[in-house]
């Protein structure tokens, strides 16, 4: 990890190289060099340096956590408190299925099933979520009523966050509700299964946000 490096290539460097490459022979000889130089160009100044200072500020991962959710549980809604005036930009989720004991099909089988099932990534197909601001305003609805929806539909997997654009004030809360879908994944009537095989051991729903004011750590 070095603190120093070579000067970055600039547009002037690229222009000079392209001027050299104007002759027919040089055009061919220098093409790979042109490609490499374009790839090595720093991001445009407009992308790095023009953003307001506060937008470079603290990035937050504000999340709630549910543990040991049985298939018929209605877990108590969890609240995220806004520690500052926040701009919530996205939401992600992850669940952990408490793999059943080995007498329900062996230790490896559940992990394999889990891997292949259409619930990936992040096991988001195993649960539904809903959220409200200040326990009043809901955002996921059927048109007639507020509903919970599969996290596959409404939350990202951390490689991307499902986009949001909420500007919230300090001390506002986002209430998150959860419902298990393990009964769909391991239906009743499946031989040799019990509700021990349907427990969501841990579910996390996290909102990615930025402070709207200049952060204290910057």
């Amino acid at each position: 990890m070095a603190g120093n490096g070579v000067r970055a290539p600039t547009l002037e460097d690229l222009q000079a190289l392209l001027q050299r490459a104007q002759g027919a022979a040089d055009s061919v000889a220098l093409t790979s060099e042109v490609v490499e130089l374009i790839q090595a160009l720093p991001p445009p100044q407009s992308e790095i340096l023009s953003r307001p200072f506060y937008e470079r500020g603290s990035l937050w991962t504000l999340g709630v956590s549910f543990e040991n959710v049985a298939p018929d549980d209605v877990p108590t809604p969890q609240n995220v408190l806004m520690p500052h005036d926040m701009w919530i930009r996205g939401v992600v989720a992850q669940a952990y299925w408490k793999n059943p004991a080995p007498d329900v099909g062996g230790a490896l089988v559940p992990a394999l099933v889990q891997r292949l099932a259409p619930i990936q990534p992040n096991n988001r197909g195993l649960f539904e979520v809903g959220w409200r601001i200040d326990a009043r305003q809901g955002f996921i609805s059927s048109g007639q009523a507020e509903i919970n929806a599969s996290a596959q539909l409404v939350a990202g997997d951390g490689q991307w966050a499902a986009p949001m654009d909420w500007r919230l004030e300090k001390n506002q809360t986002v209430e998150v509700r959860l419902r298990s879908r393990m009964r769909d994944f391991i239906p009743l009537g499946l031989p040799d299964t019990t509700d021990d095989a349907r427990i969501l051991r841990w579910v996390v729903v996290a909102f990615w946000g930025e402070e709207l004011r200049q952060p204290s750590v910057q």
């Binding site: 490096g5 290539p9 547009l11 720093p42 951390g158």
Partner: protein, 223 residues
């Protein structure tokens, strides 16, 4: 966006030498035009340091016991008894992205050296998130203030799949850090969360051969 166009043209010139001269002339026009407009210019006077990758990692990380009804006082699932790993920033930088990665493995038996095949396969099929990010939880802070992992009141560790991206798709950041600030990263092996029931049959808890977080940094100091 123009960089993508330039690259496509340059690649086409490399692919088809008979058109290289014409395409390079076109490229030259485009670069001149971009320079005149100014918006696409590179930051003057700065070292380009996109190659700076600040990696904080742990190796051979064992899981911590989870709290149960019988042992409620164990460290909660959203915390860790381990200390955070400090990283002193070597220069003033703009961190533009962060990603994570982990690899679980079955460990050799301490007496025989034999690796249990079932245990090792289990380690490989366990991840549900890209790059094994659901195998560890993480908390990231700067100078003692934790921002990557909180419920708004207290520090919380969340699965890395909810906190950081992958090398292909890093979580975008725009985090300006000054030279000598301390980034702290806390790790917890959570492979025992989905295996709470099966652990007794797996001969040993799964170990993380490595868990790592990588920050992509641009050097903002003048050369």
């Amino acid at each position: 966006m123009s960089r993508d166009v330039w690259l496509a043209i340059a690649n086409e010139a490399a692919r088809d030498p008979s058109r290289a001269a014409r395409l390079n002339a076109l490229l030259l026009d485009l670069v001149r035009e971009a320079k005149e407009q100014g918006g696409d210019s590179t930051p003057p006077g700065y070292l380009y340091a996109a190659a700076h990758q600040w990696i904080v990692r742990v190796r051979d990380l064992d899981p911590e016991p989870l709290p149960t009804a019988a042992f409620p006082a164990r460290t909660p699932i959203t915390a860790s008894a381990l200390d955070a790993i400090p990283f002193r920033t070597p220069f003033t930088a703009l961190i533009v992205g962060v990603c994570g990665w982990a690899l679980a493995r079955g460990g050799p038996d301490p007496t025989t050296g034999v690796v249990d095949l079932g245990e090792h396969i289990l380690a490989q099929v366990l991840p549900t998130a890209e790059a094994g990010r659901d195998l560890f939880s993480v908390s990231i802070g700067l100078d003692g203030q934790v921002t990557f992992g909180s419920d708004g009141r207290d520090v919380r560790m969340f699965p890395a799949s909810c906190v950081v991206g992958t090398r292909l798709v890093p979580r975008a950041m725009a985090w300006t850090v000054r030279r000598n600030q301390i980034i702290q990263v806390k790790f917890r092996n959570i492979t025992n969360v989905p295996l709470e029931n099966v652990t007794p049959l797996v001969t040993r808890p799964l170990r993380l051969a490595e868990a790592a977080v990588n920050f992509f940094a641009l050097n903002l100091e003048r050369p």
